[in-house]
Symmetry: C2
Subunit: 445 residues, 2 copies
């Protein structure tokens, strides 16, 4: 006997046992249903790609985070670190045939060798949707509608969708004469919530070389309070003469009007402090906050970009989309004691017990009959003591137990036990399906 | 401008555009629904693990196929090459808390650096289910019921589930005095369909060192023709005195009787030539063949094993399960011109057009109303010529187009066009949902 190998996972990687995987599947299925209801179509790309394709020529910071190695054919390959870069590569290859507009969703694991922390993993599931091939504001507004439908379906309580537009920020920077510093400025602005005003001003001076006054003006806009209309008016008074800012305001105004057709009042908020660190956003930007858990930050973010696939093709592909961080969401659901994570680890509401002495054929016949009627039904595999089988059902979270011993079978009856209510009924064999269906309907929360 | 990067995937890897991904999602959702209806619960493990965990101490042949490298922390890591080994590691870690029986399903990509061929990829999706922690024949019989329900739901036409039991084969080998040669003998037997009788006899002599007569006796059993009952009788007459063979016959006989409670007659066939190359199977073995495409081989295979996780734990975990090869199945579906692969690339049956001159808010209001009634509904993002929007709908496969110009909106009506039937109706705004729902019901195949 060779020595045992220690069963363990890599740091930053985790297993999904059923108690966590059942809610993960439910979250993904919910997202799938919502994305599909807007006509987004699924696609997938390989986990492994040429490193050059994923990393381009630069990407210094991300390089360190990427799992990169040489394969059997000595190819320089890497694991995808998001679902956007592979989508860009895919779009360059296929959009000429597939045509535009092209609406896609993608869900799957990505890998980053980052430092780990609570709720932060080296393998995590992303769940993105994008519309490319159009600059229409209809697509920007639709992102808000999708996010709204998604979070309503996730039953997470109230939430706000914060929107902004890079054109407004860039318009302000242009009118201040510091547009060429937009990258370090917006990167600093993005930290406002985390670091506070003073440190952001400091970073703007240090990293972008702007004056304290210029930094203050950026923050004055970002910190504007009031209604969405108030904020739009403020932008217009501060930098309305700037063409970029004016376009940003017009698009935001239309987006808010369109969103009102589908989203309850007050849920979509213009937030001029949202910048999103990522350089490639050029228009509308989005963040989503759970009212009960503001501290975890945005759980669904995105934005508009001018050109998705410029690294790979001359075809200009503007688009807009957002990404749901599934693992962060599951962590939030755990904190909120969300009912989807109540610890039920069975996928079938009924457990058919094997009454000692009953024939396996009889038990399978009962279970098959229920399944054919659309009732999920597990058969306990061993004819052990009933007490042990009931224990299993309680641990797993079955709603009903169905069983029949030789006496019951001879008398043409079956027993149906409600495991929560602890009520037990003896019903004629022919009424099994009807009784079970009625009990399950009654037991539904 | 830096030069463009060529957008391409690695050899043996492929993208799933919507036309292929929509059926892949449907296959997986079908499997999920079937597995759940039997009480199997979902689980997942990381794509990346310690190489030692995945490869154990030996595994010479598989080593070459495995994507293995050193990560940032200089750990020796590898990508999973199946869903069984990670399940074994998982079981060793968690089954002490989770308890047995433990029924799981898992679906996800695995990676093997094999030579590629038509329908054979280096990244492919597996979809497994297993019951562990029991030796009960109820679990073995259930595999047949699950495979039957799965392939009925996949709408692939008729199929056969072939079963055998390693105990029968090993019993015969034991009665011939060559049990110690079972690995090379069964590996050779497994090639019967591919190589024919003569070459198998040759390989048995060469690789296992048995006599031509011994090889012939193994093949005589394997090639037994007739009904399931005939074959069981033949086993009993050839090696019924052997205890192993007798146990195998008893389990097969019960399995066939139980399967008859849920599977149409003739679909489950005892096939004494099935050996399955994998060494770890010890009891029942399964293969599934599509009647219309026997040449592609088994599309769903599995078996019983005595001990899943012996590499990692002293806890003995017997179990039984099977695996659906999703990519091979998709290839089969393409060959069969399966209706799930009819080229529809939309996920929403309705396209709301943007009539030039109609307001975006009005269009979004129409679409939102339909979605709230449960009708999947895509909004064309640009107010371009209607002809272009109709072209898009035809290319993507929408069933209905809904649109209203300023005149229609003023008159309180909407147009609904059936894109297949090319009929168009003008309906009162208040009847939109009812009309669309009725049209969609009528259009369903």
């Amino acid at each position: 006997m060779p020595p045992l190998i220690e069963p363990r996972t890599l740091k930053g990687f985790r297993d999904y046992a059923p108690a966590l995987m059942i809610p993960r599947e439910r979250v993904l299925q919910t997202a799938r249903t919502v994305y599909r209801s807007f006509g987004f179509a699924p696609m997938d790309t390989p986990a492994l790609e040429y490193a050059e394709v994923l990393l381009g020529k630069g990407g210094e910071e991300s390089d360190k985070l990427v799992y990169r190695f040489r394969d059997h054919g000595d190819r320089d390959v890497a694991l995808r670190f998001d679902l956007t870069v592979p989508f860009a590569r895919f779009a360059a290859q296929y959009v000429p045939q597939l045509g535009t507009p092209f609406k896609r969703y993608a869900m799957g694991p990505v890998w980053r060798g980052e430092n780990t922390a609570a709720g932060r993993y080296r393998e995590f599931v992303q769940c993105d949707f994008d519309t490319i091939g159009t600059t229409s504001n209809a697509a920007d507004a639709e992102v808000v509608l999708v996010v709204n439908a998604l979070f309503e379906a996730l039953e997470l309580g109230d939430f706000t969708i914060r929107v902004n537009n890079r054109l407004v920020l860039n318009g302000l920077l242009e009118s201040l004469g510091v547009l060429d510093k937009s990258v370090p400025l917006l990167r600093a602005l993005d930290k406002l919530l985390k670091m506070g005003r003073d440190k952001v001003v400091e970073e703007m001076q240090r990293e972008a070389g702007v004056t304290a006054e210029q930094a203050a003006q950026v923050l004055t806009l970002a910190e504007t309070e009031g209604s969405n209309a108030d904020k739009l008016a403020r932008v217009e008074s501060l930098c309305g003469g700037n063409a970029k800012a004016a376009e940003g305001v017009a698009r935001l105004r239309e987006l808010l009007a369109v969103a009102a057709a589908g989203v309850p009042e007050g849920r979509v908020r213009l937030d001029l402090s949202i910048a999103r660190g990522l350089d490639y956003y050029t228009g509308t930007i989005y963040e989503t906050f759970l009212t009960k858990l503001p501290g975890i930050g945005s759980v669904c973010s995105g934005g508009r970009y001018d050109n998705l696939a410029g690294l790979y093709t001359k075809q200009v592909l503007p688009g807009v989309g957002a990404s749901l961080g599934v693992d962060r969401l599951l962590t939030a659901m755990e904190e909120l004691k969300h009912p989807w994570l109540a610890g039920v680890t069975t996928t079938a509401p009924v457990l058919v017990l094997q009454f000692p002495g009953a024939s396996l054929v009889d038990c399978v016949t009962l279970a098959t009959e229920l399944r054919r009627a659309g009732v999920g039904c597990e058969l306990y595999p061993d004819a052990v003591k009933l007490g042990k089988q009931f224990q299993y059902a309680e641990k797993r979270g079955h709603t009903l137990a169905v069983f029949a011993g030789p006496e019951e079978l001879a008398a043409g009856v079956v027993k149906v036990k409600n495991l929560a209510g602890r009520t037990e009924a003896t019903v004629p064999r022919g009424e099994l399906v009807a009784t079970v269906s009625a009990e399950l309907t009654r037991a539904k929360p």
